[in-house]
Amino acid sequence: MDRLIIRFATCARAAGLMVSQAEVMDTLTHLALVDVTDPQAFHRVLRANFAKSRRDQPRFDHLFHLFFHEFREDAGLSKDLLAPEAARLARELAKEFPDDPAFKAALDFMAGDPLAFLEKLRALETDGDRPAMAMGGNLGQVARRLEMMLAAGKVKDGLLRRLGENPDNLPWQTRRELEEHFLSRLDAARRLISGEDRPLEAGAEARSAYEKRLGEIGERSFVSLTPKEVAEMREVIDQLVRKLKDLASLRYSRQKRGVLDVKKTLRKSGRYLGVPMELVRRNKPPKKGKIVTLCDVSGSVWSAARFMLNMLYSLQECFTRVRSYVFVAGLAEVTGIFEDNEISRAIDKVLAEAELEYGAPTDYGATFRQFSRNHMEVLNKKTTLIIIGDGRSNYLNPELRLLEEMREKCRRVIWLNPEAKGFWYSGDSEMRAFETRVNEVRPCQNLNQLTDFIQDLIL
């Protein structure tokens, strides 16, 4: 039993579960306490000790199934006459491609030792961008998956050939059984590679994929995202937001250990004959800012603005109030849409419900005029005004004076430009003029830049 569990633990590690020595020992003590002949009890004990988070559970279940069900025939086989035959076959096959690790792994898998195979699979999933070894080229993952598929195929060919080659020295039942046994194994291997039942990925998705996806998608320009990637992006943003919230709350708890509050300390010291036994620190929560956003919703800018709005509204509790306006050649307030709807629905609704002339050429001047006439009161010294736009005003009056006025009214004005920096000052772009009149200009082309910006904003 001990050896079985240890072997299983090794496989579990190879498949990416964190199983420590202590856990293996616990499992063994625990197994002594329950009825191990009850397969379900056995499974429960192992699961309670091996899969210590929700994410790991599907992965564990799959591995458990593989190890204890699909490989169970081992026990039957080893007592059988077949075992030496099987071992001999495996040895002979091994000679065929002595230098191919993938082949070896597939062969071991077939012979009942999935360790190397699982390790390879895992490597394939975790560092998908390492250069492919055998196939060459830069297909990475696919190539290596293919490589393992081929290895499994080679094993199969070799096996069938060997079984068919010398029909005389094996009785036909034995041969049939061996064949069935090995083929079912190889099937399991192939399912693993092709991920038909997505065994290893199901659990890993949530954690490891996040970093990877952030890496992949973080540098992609917003404009070039496909609809599927937009949906994916939303998930990544959700995770980012959760992280940022943690960060922000961490800062709150740090802040509690701030400077000494002399008044309160003295008042409390009264209880101890005037000895300041308990020090009271000033609990100064960091200032929450008010946010006002002005979003250009014409074409390309909108693709960046929607993600910014998504993040801002997900982080709403970090600000006292978020108000948003969208504009093309005129202004419309969309705060209400965000307050009444769930974020992603609200974003979809913005374009449909805001009363704007979408056909009109973008006019920053008109927008500023309208804003200063109707909404100037939303700006005060606690407000951060975020303008997101490409600054292309179609040669219309940019009304720089009004922008200056707005800047005077609020804490700071940040301009986000979703265009590549190289194009900023060309054509009808007024960026050069705007740039000098706002507090900060930031490029906002992809998720990483956006994240940096939001992080600076809340911290």
């Binding site: 964190m18 420590s20 202590a22 856990e23 616990d26 003590t29 625990h30 306490l33 329950v34 009825d35 379900q40 009890a41 429960r44 004990v45 699961r47 309670a48 000790n49 899969a51 210590k52 988070s53 929700r54 559970q57 943690d246 709350s249 709150y252 708890s253 509690k256 209880r271 101890y272 004959l273 000895v275 036994m277 308990e278 709807n341 769930e342």
Partner: protein, 312 residues
């Protein structure tokens, strides 16, 4: 060992009004037998805290509860010196103190003499035990519930490690305190953040999910024996159908029970979509969620087998 086997755990928990899955029973059994802490994870309201209470009840032990929150520190979790009491005592034994230091030749001699008496002031008499210390020093075995451990700071989690693996704590003035009895420890987590591997390694893991239909039905029956067979079925089916929708916060068992209670109070005999909509506020806690349920009421009704004609 308090329990003979897994089945006994299940039965005794049931006697304590807690119906659990075989997984939970197995984990409780193992934890009790080997003195290991249990880390219970799962969505809010599936009975994580309730499990600890039920274990305490069926073992006849006291439940000591430590509610974790951000900023929880040792002083609130472990122990605190009772300064006020110390000062009060100093005042009262002032005469004795002056007796001790009378005749001291120099200031340093006086201080030395006082220092010899230090033990009198830093003794267990002046310690106010907080939940963790109370659980360790209790003369009777207890159940220690560390609730929502994911809400605590990472530093606190690290501090828990010593307690969870060795069941001892160090108090600088008094030395190391070992547990009189190893308490049955239950940690609960809502997955607000991931617990460290070191903590996980010391615990047996249990994931409580929303119960399956039969289990939920039995729980409803147990907590509300008066509920009609038909209403009970409809209720559980509707909750399960609502849970299948993509909601911000899915209704949990405690909400199912609340809902069942309100339906009993309202003397509803049979659920209809209209009744579901009227009483939705007990079950769903966000406006956007209730909107979604209303939109999908037909789907819910179909799944739960509610009839449209039934009047409330």
């Amino acid at each position: 060992m308090e329990f003979e086997n897994v089945e006994a755990v299940r039965q005794r928990l049931e006697e304590a009004d807690y119906i659990c899955s075989p997984e939970a029973a197995t984990v409780v059994f193992l934890a009790e037998a080997t003195g290991k802490p249990v880390l219970v994870e799962g969505p809010a309201g599936v009975g994580k805290t309730e499990l600890a209470k039920a274990v305490a009840k069926c073992l006849g032990r006291e439940l000591i509860r430590l509610q974790c929150y951000e900023g929880l520190d040792e002083a609130k979790a472990l122990y605190e010196w009772e300064y006020a009491k110390q000062l009060l005592y100093t005042q009262m034994v002032k005469d004795k103190l002056s007796e001790i230091i009378s005749g001291a030749g120099s200031l340093s001699e006086a201080v030395d003499r006082i220092a010899n008496q230090e033990d009198a002031f830093f003794s267990e008499r002046f310690i106010q035990p907080r939940p963790l210390l109370a659980a360790l020093t209790s003369l009777k075995p207890v159940v220690l519930l560390i609730d929502e451990v994911d809400k605590s700071d990472p530093e606190f989690e690290a501090f828990l490690l010593e307690i969870l693996s060795d069941f001892q704590v160090s108090i600088p003035e008094l030395g190391t305190k070992k547990a009189v009895h190893i308490p049955f420890v239950v940690l609960t987590s809502n997955n607000y953040r991931d617990m460290s591997d070191a903590l996980k390694r010391r615990c047996i893991h249990l994931y409580l999910d929303y119960p399956d239909r039969d289990l939920e039905r039995r729980i409803v029956q147990l907590k509300l024996p008066g509920i009609g067979q038909r209403l009970g079925d409809q209720l559980v089916d509707s909750v399960r159908a609502i849970r299948d929708l993509d909601l911000k916060k899915k209704p949990c068992i405690s909400e199912t029970l609340d809902w069942a209670r309100s339906l009993v109070v309202l003397q509803v005999e049979e659920l209809s979509p209209a009744v579901v909509e009227e009483t939705l506020s007990v079950l769903v806690k966000y406006r956007s969620d209730s909107g979604k349920v209303r939109e999908n009421i037909k789907k819910v009704a179909d799944k739960a087998g509610l009839t449209w004609t039934a009047s409330s």
